[in-house]
């Protein structure tokens, strides 16, 4: 049976795909060493363009327009520069609406293109390029801790991790965020509110890791310029203990945070990576069958977002509240607290 997984691991070899939103140019090669802020690929975003109806503006036929043009194809132009003019009693002038280049002339029109904007993609993590994908990006390999989340606001950044709460059930409050938060990635337990976000922006926080975000906060967070990731999803959920403990152990270390979630056809997991000064680390094998002792997290029902270890795989089916009978598993949260949940609603923590 297929069991999904989330990586929450203190030391492993991580491969991070760094992909451009559109085709472009890869600036590094496989084997190159890269630093977090190093640009590894870039692309040119399609520039603004305008069709200028010269004949119409000068009140001429298309055939008579070329003699009035003051510019030619390929010529650089400034906003407000004269593109064409006709003299005489009814003199008229046609000005450029943008700064750029004339890329087309004909049929009484000019086609102008603005200066293109370059999108630059940084490595985000220190490491080595292990794969260069022609025109689309690279895969960077690094060694360190990796924590995957479920939701993110689409931004990226890096900074020093700073744990703000003592309990995974506690939200981030504005009162937690003081001047020492500048340049850090803040870690909370459950959620974050509007006031805390405003405070974080003012104090130039570099990122935020929380258990969950309320649906009403999503539009606000999408506009926030630093990355925010939620490890458990949407709602008012505490961070699962396994992830909270791992993040607490990493307090004070530098982390890279990617809050990109892709789209519905190419979903991506948001994540935080904490590079470690070592070269040797194990690689994960998510294909091993689930067994007693494995760390898991619950994704549905009353125990949603709680993590524990597999006590045993149940042989028969268990009945859940809906009346459905599903293959079950017993999970231990502690020595004394064990629960039975359907296998369909758990994931392995690797």
């Amino acid at each position: 049976m297929f069991i999904p997984y989330t990586v929450a691991n203190p030391l492993l070899t991580v491969r991070i795909p760094r992909l451009l939103p559109q085709r472009g140019q890869v600036l590094v090669r496989a084997g190159d060493s890269v630093a977090p802020s190093q640009i590894v690929a870039q692309a040119v975003r399609p520039a603004d363009f305008r069709i200028v109806e010269v004949a119409q503006e000068l009140d001429l036929s298309a055939r008579n327009t070329p003699s009035c043009l003051k510019v030619e194809r390929g010529q650089a132009i400034q906003e407000g520069e004269v593109l064409a003019a006709r003299g005489g009693l009814t003199s008229r002038v046609c000005y450029s609406p943008l700064t750029g280049t004339v890329i087309g002339v004909g049929r009484g029109r000019l086609l102008l293109e603005a200066q293109a904007e370059v999108i630059r993609l940084a490595a985000l993590v220190p490491g080595y390029v292990v794969e260069s994908r022609d025109g689309s990006g690279v895969v960077v390999e690094t060694v360190g801790a990796l924590i995957q989340a479920f939701w993110g606001n689409g931004r990226e950044g890096y900074g020093v991790l700073r744990m703000l709460v003592r309990d995974p059930r506690h939200p981030i409050r504005a009162s937690h965020i003081n001047a020492s938060a500048q340049g850090t990635v803040l870690i909370g337990g459950s959620t974050v509110d509007e006031e805390s976000i405003a405070q974080a922006i003012e104090l130039q926080v570099r990122g935020m890791i929380v258990g969950s975000v309320l649906p009403s906060m999503i539009p606000r967070l999408r506009k926030t310029r630093f990355p925010v990731i939620a490890t458990e999803g949407i709602g008012n959920l505490p961070m699962s203990m396994a992830l909270f403990e791992l993040l607490r152990s990493l307090d004070g270390r530098e982390a890279a945070v990617s809050a990109r979630i892709g789209d519905r056809w190419q979903p991506m997991r948001p994540y935080a990576v904490v590079p470690m000064p070592t070269h040797a680390a194990p690689k994960l094998n998510p294909d091993l069958p689930l067994k007693a002792g494995d760390r898991v997290r619950i994704l549905g029902g009353e125990y949603r977002a709680r993590s524990g270890t597999v006590s045993r795989l149940l042989e028969g089916l268990i009945q859940v509240e809906t009346g459905a009978r599903l293959p079950g598993i017993e999970i231990a949260f502690s020595e004394s607290e064990r629960v039975q949940v359907p296998q369909t609603n758990i994931e392995r923590l690797l």
């Binding site: 709602g235 190419q266 459905a324 359907p342």
Partner: protein, 589 residues
């Protein structure tokens, strides 16, 4: 692959957006049966980027279940060698992103509407519509229409521009203006990135459009989708878009080259495979005055396939129960979902649950609240796909006389993880009744093993084998439903029914307006019904007209849904919740 007449075992890989399902069908005695199934996560996206990885994992699970060797030396063994391998391996898929289409045309209610309907016939998303009629975008205030259109084509960089407009012999200049703008937009993209253009407008302009765009990009010509003001002709455009989807998307899916090396059979979109099954059901029933209908509610899309008078129609709605559902809610509002929840639920809690369904799409409902939310989503997907699909049908003799009503349909096939895994059959049936609002008399079949699409895939190679597998219990009957059309007061008698059971038993019952009522009729059991509707109610035989019909039993037996059409929910929230709960009790949900 073995020759068609020698095929005795087929392995079907159905690569969905979330799960890859493998089904093994084999000859057992004189019929063909589903021997085993296995699932794995679909691996078309990061970190795998290779569909074949998920297929191999599912094959390994299937090997463990059956004890058979199917995979050896890095490939599926085809043809079979003794007990190793299978005679044929078929791949169907809905895992890859749909075709991205920009629709360009003239009149919203005519050519553009026809273009939109044509695009719903396959996995396609209309990213933008180019038309003289305002889209209300800010840039329209400062830019010329051609500039806006060219910019849209360039910035969206779609797979295909579907250019429609003008009846044959009609408008010329406006269509050519659109073509010029498309040419300009496409020419600003790199040669390999340029969208293909599918022209299905005024036939007189084909040479001009080809001349204008032919040097810039690949142009395909199809029959005009709206050749006269009162006719619509979607087939050729739908076929062309489907070919684009197969070429641009399916055949370029990551890892498809590996699967192609093992299969050597053409890849089939899941929607087409599903449509074959519905078409088969129509031919099996042989009722020219009724259609056959199937709905497949998947994670990312909802497919409705129907056949009327031997002609199949497919509609792929671009939303399912998980991927993209938050986009749907953003567009249509949370209230559309909330109205189906039979208990009090804060809007923010409902919104959070919908978000988490999208983020954690593998999970199944564990609490009743989670189940109500999932079934609310299914209801809205069914209503949405029906709204998209119904205008494309020529229902012929199956019409109930009102365009807003469902035509006569029998049977109704329901499939997809969102429906077949409901804990109680009544929950699935009620969801379908609420979502589709069928009328007349219909048998409702549940694709309990989610094997219908596999059967459809097999039908492309060996139709007899597919028919045999379908007859051998792939589908379970939920029962026969009778849905009268008409208005009455709650409690009014809508019809009287004499149920004559096969064993000689007899039951005389009445069905009342506003109620759902069920009477026993076991799975596989047949009964003759003598139905006498009261004069204001029509069960598909005319108002007040009844007669004798033979019906099939099912998990819920005989069900009369006399709640009226269209189905109306009370405005008052408490009253609505009470009513929803009562309906659930009525069907044992």
């Amino acid at each position: 692959m073995a020759e068609a007449h020698k095929i005795e075992s087929i392995l079907v890989a159905d690569c969905g957006t979330v799960l890859t399902k493998l089904s093994l069908v084999e000859r057992v005695a004189n019929s063909y049966r589903f021997v085993a199934q296995a699932n794995s996560q679909t691996t078309a996206t990061e970190p795998w980027n290779d569909l074949s990885i998920g297929v191999i994992k599912a094959v390994q699970e299937l090997e463990a279940i059956t004890g058979r060797h199917l995979y050896s030396r890095g490939r599926i063994v085809v043809p079979r060698r003794g007990l190793e391998g299978v005679d044929a391996f078929v791949v169907i898929s809905s895992a890859v992103a749909p075709l991205r289409v920009v629709l360009a045309g003239l009149v919203r209610e005519m050519s553009l509407e026809s273009g939109r309907r044509a695009a719903t016939g396959t996995y396609a998303t209309i990213e933008s519509t180019l038309s003289r009629e305002s889209n209300g975008r800010e840039e329209e205030q400062v830019r010329s229409p051609q500039e806006v259109w060219a910019r849209t084509v360039r910035d969206l960089n779609p797979d295909v521009v579907l250019l429609v407009g003008g009846v044959d012999g009609g408008a010329r200049r406006p269509v050519l203006e659109l073509a010029e703008a498309v040419a300009l937009g496409a020419s600003m993209l790199g040669e390999e990135q340029r969208p293909a253009v599918l022209y299905a407008g005024n036939a007189d302009l084909r040479p001009y459009v080809t001349k204008l765009l032919g040097d810039i990009t690949h142009v395909v010509i199809a029959d005009n989708v709206h050749p006269t003001t009162d006719t619509e002709h979607l087939g050729p455009t739908q076929l062309a878009l489907e070919e684009f989807y197969i070429e641009e998307r399916m055949q370029r899916a990551p890892g498809i080259d590996v699967l192609s090396d093992w299969s050597r059979l053409p890849f089939v979109p899941v929607a087409n495979a599903f449509s074959r099954v519905v078409d088969f059901l129509w031919h099996r029933e042989g009722n020219r005055d009724r259609g056959a209908l199937g709905v497949d509610v998947g994670a990312a899309t909802t497919t409705m396939a129907v056949t009327f008078s031997g002609r199949p129609y497919v509609t792929v709605y671009e939303h399912g129960v998980a991927n993209g559902i938050t986009d749907w809610v953003e567009k249509h509002g949370l209230a559309r979902m909330a109205r189906w929840i039979p208990e009090e639920l804060e809007p923010e809690a409902l919104e959070a649950m919908i978000h988490n369904l999208e983020l954690q799409r593998y999970t199944v409902p564990q609490t009743t609240r989670e189940l109500w939310v999932q079934l609310a989503i299914v209801r809205e997907m069914l209503r949405s796909v029906r709204r998209s699909a119904q205008p494309t049908w020529d229902v012929g003799d199956a019409s109930m006389g009102h365009l807003t009503l469902m035509p006569r349909i029998d049977p109704i096939l329901i499939s997809g993880g969102g429906l077949v895994h409901t804990p109680r059959p009544g929950q699935a049936l009620l969801t379908v009744l609420d979502g589709l609002e069928p009328v007349g008399i219909s048998t409702v079949l549940l694709d309990v093993n989610r094997a219908a699409t596999a059967v459809g895939a097999i039908a492309g190679i060996k139709p007899l084998l597919a028919a045999s597998a379908l007859e051998a219990g792939s589908l379970v009957s939920l029962g026969t439903v009778i849905c009268p059309v008409g208005k009455g007061r709650p409690g009014d008698v809508t019809m009287r029914i004499r149920i004559l059971y096969g064993n000689g038993g007899e039951l005389n019952v009445e069905a009342h307006y506003g109620e759902i009522e069920t009477w026993p009729l076991l799975v596989g059991e047949r009964a003759t019904l003598e139905i006498r509707p009261t004069r204001r109610f029509d069960i598909g035989m005319g108002p007040g007209e009844g007669g004798k019909v033979e019906v099939l039993g099912g998990l819920l037996g005989l069900v009369v849904d006399a709640r009226g059409r269209p189905l109306l929910l009370p405005e008052n929230e408490d009253a609505r919740r009470r009513l929803l709960t009562r309906w659930l009790w009525d069907v044992g949900g």
